[in-house]
Amino acid sequence: MDFLSDLFANFGINWPKFLSQIILFATVYFILSKFAFKPVINMLEERRRRIEESQLNAEKIKKQLAEAELRYQEILRKANEDAANILKEAKAVSEEATQRQLKEAARQAEQLLARTREEISAERDKMISEVKAEMVNLVIQTASKVTGKILTPEDHNRLAEETTRQLAA
């Protein structure tokens, strides 16, 4: 202890001076911690919090952007798919309509052709019957002129039947 006392005496350490220095340092400590470090640390923490928040927001926005991109791609893919389907359906419908119209046109043409054929046939039959009748008359007239006799109704009928039979053959 004497050694310590001597050491302290040599270095000029004594209680009043020692305590005064502690009080001076304590003053700095209390003033700085309350009025200087506290606001600075609060400010730094606030800034750190904001930066972390901004980073979180940026990540969130990035994630949202990636999701939106995915959604956009999905919508685009679906739209393309729908468009392709619609086009395919439209083509099918158009093809069907064309086929239907073609068939209808063919059917109508067929009907028209048949009707025309019937008409032509009827016309020809009519003409033939007229020609036949005319021929019968001509034959009868010619026969009466050639023979110089007046034909009886029986002759008339027989001649007509004979002519008709020969024409039909």
């Binding site: 350490i13 001076k17 005064s20 502690i22 003033i31």
Partner: protein
């Protein structure tokens, strides 16, 4: 004119003196304890408080020049201390450690101002000239063991409170004397005397911490002041002609002056970081530290 370099620094005695005791005309009965280093400490207190308050009076999210300087120092100090003591302890220990840093730094650099240690009382040989300053008016504050021991003691008291608060009294004793390394049963019982002995050594080392902290700082600054003084008067002591010794008194101290600037900063850093390490050692739980 030739005396001017002598203003930069002068050899100072081992202990801080009170000018009121012998050299002032009307000694103050209550003022004997106000030594020249306490006077400088008070000036440093005023400066540190003024500097920090002026930087932080009107805090802005986008800082001005002074706030920016103060914030950048505080921020780098904060991240360094956080890296040592951990995020949990930094809020509690940072204000004290940063106060220690600023106070020691400004005290150390204050001692490099011309006139500190070199103006004072002594045997007068001319109107305002004394050959040797026996009692300087301004003594470097950290060249007084009262201050360095005071700061170290204040810190150790804080350290003890924080450690006991963190570990509990029993936890603190276990931390010192307990068997570490996760040994259990008979093996732990066998190791108990060894770890008790290690604990006793630990207690002794803790008791010596304030002594080592304070003597290191005191020694560096005291030696620095005397080294500068020696370098200024080197030519004269070597008996060189006056013109050469005058030139040497200007040129030789310059590198040492920068060295002392660096040492002033390094000693503040060393003191602060050692304190942070002491907090980390005692407040980190055994699982983390061993």
């Amino acid at each position: 004119m030739q005396r001017f370099p002598l203003l930069l620094a002068a050899g100072i005695p081992l202990k801080a003196e009170s000018p009121w005791e012998d050299h002032l005309a009307s000694p103050l009965p209550w003022g004997n304890w106000i030594t020249n280093s306490i006077f400088v400490s008070a000036l440093v207190v005023v400066f540190v408080v003024w500097f920090s308050r002026s930087a932080t009076r009107q805090m802005e999210v986008v800082p001005g020049t002074r706030q920016n300087l103060f914030e950048s120092i505080v921020e780098s100090l904060y991240s360094t201390i956080e890296g040592i003591v951990g995020r949990r302890m930094v809020a509690l220990s940072f204000p004290l450690l940063a106060s220690i840093f600023f106070f020691i730094l400004f005290s150390n650099w204050f001692s490099l101002l011309p006139g500190v240690g070199s103006i004072g009382w002594g045997e007068r040989i001319a109107f305002i000239t004394v050959p040797n300053v026996q009692v300087p008016l301004l003594r470097p504050a950290t060249a007084d063991l009262n201050l360095t021991l005071g700061i170290a003691t204040f810190f150790m008291a804080f350290w003890l409170i924080v450690t006991i608060r963190e570990l509990g009294f029993i936890g603190f004793l276990e931390h010192l004397f307990g068997v570490k390394g996760g040994f259990k049963g008979l093996f732990a019982l066998l190791l108990l005397p060894i770890f008790f002995f290690v604990g006793v050594i630990e207690v002794i080392s803790i008791i010596f911490r304030p002594v080592s902290l304070s003597l290191r700082l005191f020694g560096n600054i005291f030696a620095g002041e005397n080294l500068l003084s020696y370098m200024i008067t080197l030519g004269k002591q070597l008996g060189l002609p006056e013109a050469i010794s005058y030139l040497m008194s200007i040129l030789v101290p310059i590198p040492f002056y920068f060295l002392e600037l660096l040492i002033g900063f390094l000693q503040a850093v060393v003191f602060t970081l050692l304190c942070a390490v002491y907090i980390q050692l005692s407040t980190s739980h055994d699982d983390d530290s061993h």
